[in-house]
């Protein structure tokens, strides 16, 4: 391949070669061996006519042969054609004669040509994708789909690259410091036992089972498959996955019902595909092809829809709320409201207008935002906290906060912030809470507690007599009045155990109490039996300099201990 090799030669050499060529008018010019010694196929160069006319004369300065590129490309063509002919002969044997195979091959070719033309097209494309592509009718839809694939491929490649890099680094490290007995990093000596993932799974599963027995039902109406495009359906399935995981991890999960879920429908197929057959079967939710009105009494059902004229002011734990599981990118006003009207169900919408200064966008929410809001309102009873999950871009803060700041003087005004009151609280918090140095001390404390709750599967109950530091950590819980209810063993509290955290309680870090037993007694059966824990308990405070992470590690241990305790007693 003299021409391709030309690039390998220096400029002068190539010019010399060209001159040699044009002068001698060689019809068959071939180089048998590659300079490196590799044998390459010798191609005959048989475009004498062009060569004569298009002789390259670099030294004549002014006159440049403009059509030389044509002869170069044509000479390539001549070579390529002979190869291609061979290929075609091979192809003819196995090429699919069916029209569909033909279309697929043509589509594949189109993709490869688009790639060559520099369009945004994936480097590799699977047969399934080609099939989908061939089914798309318009050019723009094909281009969009290819763009989507290309972007996805980019993400995949990037993460793969990252992994490769990590592996290479690890290997290098190992090569440098081979892992021998002496060389191995010392095992961390800790009184804490490692908290394993499946323990957490078991806890969450336990909670889910509780919810399925006693929890408040929440219905997702899966009947909107026909009103969604395939893309929207995929999106809504993703959101449903998030809904389920949110609910599973929550303190007090809903009993999820997926109503109108047709066994052969695309919705169920995609859900099963995303979860996997086994995981789907193990999921602690109820799926049914029945309508919600057939499963629950009519008077209990409330359809939550943005088009409803009624505002949901208080969350009623005795009601069964229904959420339409639909993603409508081009908003289909009144779709779910029509369903509710047809079935003569009560309807309600979230009090968005009552609490938020709405700015832009429709008052539609994604399914995962919906479940977060519902879980929070169920837990806390405060719309301010629940509606924090409405996307911030859509609104400009809460009404109430504004009003309070106006009344409360210049607390927030001097900083010109959007949430003056919260800032004020934060500042106070960070002054007192050592781990809250910086912003959001309270939020972090709250997050730690939230994690604690999630981990323990229990309601944290706070001893008011605890030290100031611990108290401030747990204060948010008193505020909600949540902890107190749980401590009294109020009806409806089906938690397996209560955990009492006394920050400065002497002689123990934590005390575990079972339902029905006397609270907090020193002889309580739930008292931690772990020697080590008890030994170190004295004088330890939960506050102190504990970082969030370390606190959690500690709580992991407690959770484990309490679990064990449950088992033994």
């Amino acid at each position: 391949m003299p021409l391709e090799m030309m690039g390998l030669f220096s400029r002068r050499v190539s010019v010399e070669l060209w001159r040699l060529w044009s002068v001698s008018g060689t019809r068959h010019f071939s180089i048998g061996t590659f300079p490196t010694g590799q044998v390459c196929s010798s191609r005959s160069f048989s475009s004498g006519r062009y060569l004569r006319t298009d002789a390259f004369q670099p030294d004549q300065g002014d006159k440049i042969d403009l059509d030389l590129w044509k002869s170069v490309m044509r000479s390539q063509t001549a070579v390529d054609e002979s190869i291609e002919e061979d290929k075609e002969q091979v192809k003819k044997g196995d090429s699919t004669d069916s029209p569909s195979g033909c279309v697929l091959a043509a589509t594949r070719e189109l993709v490869s040509m688009w790639r060559q033309a520099g369009k945004l097209v994936p480097d590799k494309i699977t047969d399934e994708d080609v099939k989908t592509l061939a089914e798309l009718t318009t050019k723009s839809s094909k281009k969009k789909y290819l763009k989507f694939l290309a972007i996805r491929e980019g993400h995949k490649n990037k993460s793969k690259e990252k992994q490769e890099k990590k592996r290479a680094e690890r290997e290098q490290r190992l090569a440098e410091f081979p892992e021998t007995l002496e060389n191995r990093p010392p095992v961390k000596n800790s009184f804490l036992m490692q908290y394993r993932d499946h323990w957490l799974d078991r806890l969450l599963g336990w909670r889910g089972a509780q919810a399925m027995n006693f929890g408040q039902p929440l219905v997702f109406d899966m009947s909107y498959e026909a009103h969604m495009t395939p893309q929207e359906l995929t999106n809504s399935v993703s959101q449903m996955l998030e809904v389920e995981s949110c609910n599973r991890r929550s303190l007090d999960p809903f009993h999820l019902h997926l109503c109108n879920l047709q066994p052969e429908g695309g919705y169920r197929q995609q859900l099963v595909k995303r979860y996997g057959e086994d995981a789907w079967d193990r999921l602690l939710i109820t799926e049914t092809p029945q309508r919600h009105v057939d499963v629950f009494p009519q008077e209990q059902l409330v359809y939550l829809t943005a088009d409803s004229p009624n505002v949901l002011r208080t969350f009623d734990p005795s009601k069964v709320y229904v959420v339409g599981a639909m993603v409508d990118r081009s908003i289909q006003t009144g779709r779910s409201f029509a369903t509710a009207k047809r079935l003569q169900m009560a309807t309600a919408r979230l009090p968005l207008d009552q609490f938020l200064r709405w700015e832009i966008g429709a008052k539609t929410l994604t399914l995962d935002q919906m479940i977060r809001i519902l879980l929070t309102i169920k837990d806390t009873g405060s719309w301010e906290q629940a509606l924090a999950f409405v996307p911030k871009r859509k609104h400009d803060g809460f009404y109430q906060e504004k009003k309070q700041s106006e009344r409360g003087g210049t607390a927030g005004r001097d900083r010109g912030d959007r949430y003056p009151q919260r800032d004020q609280r934060e500042r106070q918090g960070s002054a007192r809470e050592p781990w809250g140095a910086g912003r959001g001390g309270q939020d972090r404390g709250q997050a730690a507690l939230r994690a604690l709750q999630l981990l323990l599967g229990s309601t944290a109950v706070v001893h008011r007599r605890g030290g100031r530091r611990g108290a401030s950590l747990l204060r948010p819980f008193w505020r909600r009045g949540h902890a107190a209810v749980a401590a009294d063993g109020a009806p409806g509290n089906q938690n397996p155990h209560h955990l009492h955290l006394g920050a400065r309680c002497p002689a123990h870090l934590a005390q575990v109490e079972h339902p029905g037993r006397r609270r907090g007694g020193p002889q309580g059966a739930g008292r931690l039996q772990d020697e080590r824990l008890q030994g170190r308990g004295r004088g330890h405070t939960l506050g102190g300099n504990l970082q969030k992470g370390r606190l959690l590690v500690r709580l992991h241990a407690i959770a484990w201990a309490s679990d064990k305790d449950m088992g033994s007693t």
């Binding site: 060209w18 390259f56 490309m73 063509t77 040509m113 060559q116 050019k139 723009s140 763009k147 029509a338």
Partner: protein
Amino acid sequence: MGATFLFQARLCLYGLSQSSGIIHLGKMCVRTMCTKGIKPGERKSPPRKNDTTIRQTESFKVRQMPSFPTSVFAAGNAKRTTEMLKRKTALCLVCPDGLVAPDRPLSPTEWKKQLEEAPCSPERFDVHMMTLLFKTGAELDIAKSLLTFVALETGTMSYQLLLQYLTLCVKGGHDAEALDCYQIMRGAFPALETGASSLFIKAFSRTESWREALPILRDMKKVIAPSTRNYSDIISGALLHGAAAPAWQLYDEVLGEGLTPLPDTWRALFEGGARGERLLGVLGYMRDNQVYPERNLADAIKTWFHSLPGHHWRGEWTTVSPKGVCKGCGSELESIQLTPEEYTHLEARVMADIIQGKDVFQKTTAEELESFKAFVKRKPVFDVVVDGLNVANIVKGRQSEMLLAVVCELERQGLTSLVLGRKHMLRPSASWDRRNMGLIQKKAHCFFTENTSEDDPFLLYATLHSGNHCRFLSRDLMRDHKACLPDALTRRLFFKWQRGHQLVIHGTVAQGRRVGFQMISPYDTIVQSTGVSWHVPYDDSVDRSSYEVPQSWLCLTNKP
């Protein structure tokens, strides 16, 4: 990085939709315009030799500075960036700054020098330079010399480069060169993609060998539905070279595909002449599909009529009087009123598709619809149906007064009117005065729907049900309801009926003044013929919306 990538992709796609091949070249330069997450090492292009990478990094730094003199957080920065990007994308073709197009064909040695000095990657130099040549409208010889350089340097050429060169040829009208290009590209690449195919079709259609475009079109059909532009090119090519039969065959194919032919196609057909019946068929198509030709197409139509042998057609640019009389020939235009069959068809469709639709609960409830039907049956035939909320909201703050004024005016004219509203209007408030609402209910028939129902469908039903003389009063253009109708024919009927039956309040209404209504034109704006004359409404303004009709006409009369 993700955002950058998405943005880049969007920009590429935007560019592609604008014109054919070359636009996506903006990639690299666009990337440098984003401030977020750019590191030279992150480029998608494969790793290069050391020296080039270093140069890349340096040039990157140099180029980034001047475009963002201030911090990203500085006021107005985002807007400035958007505007800059808009400007850049408007050009579609983005080249690295500092790249200068030569003004004469260069020898390979000179190109080599250019390459070494170029502020972009040496791998992309050819493509960037070609883009620049295209952008500056350079001579073809310069591009050729670039290609020669590339061919000598690398021994081959990328598809992208040839595609750009082809675009340059086709844009400059160098069709012979494009044909050469075709031979080469066909030989060098296994297939042609859509951009190149479209360009070749265009180039071939302008030459003697227009028939070569037909196999290209056939190849295109295998993977993609060819655009009307492709068809239009070949049809014009065929007619230019006197092949009417294949042109008409292709025209039929366009119609068969359900595409609307381009005005250029029609112009080519009219300029191609002959085939009187087929061209009259084209006019019929315009009539059926409510197509209003543009001025140049109307010109072609006029010229064609003039050229008809054995007739004495005379064309005239004219307007129509408000009464529907052509100012050119003095004949009366078609009435806007529907025929009884059309009327019944429309009434049925409106009930089935607009009000009930797939789900009657979407816009109302079943009981409400039944009660409304009974209400309409019980009441006498209405002359005017008023969209209460729409009329009242013309004046904010004193809605009920406005509505009362309109109802009084209608009563004064002795018309039986129906006012449609929602139930919340009956709850006394500042806007909805109890006394006014009482008066309205005395002077007109009233129906109030549920607050959660839509009132427009009821309005349409009541108007259609009351007969052809009944009109409705609303500012609403009813486009969302028109869109509910399934087929084009019914939509056209609806639009025609709407133009003939919709009253709109004229101007602003001052307190105590009488309410005036806009006139309803008595004639239909559509291509029409009486045998001895043709009237073609044509589009002479650029900003006509789809729901508006043109005001200027081409009047063609056959006077022996």
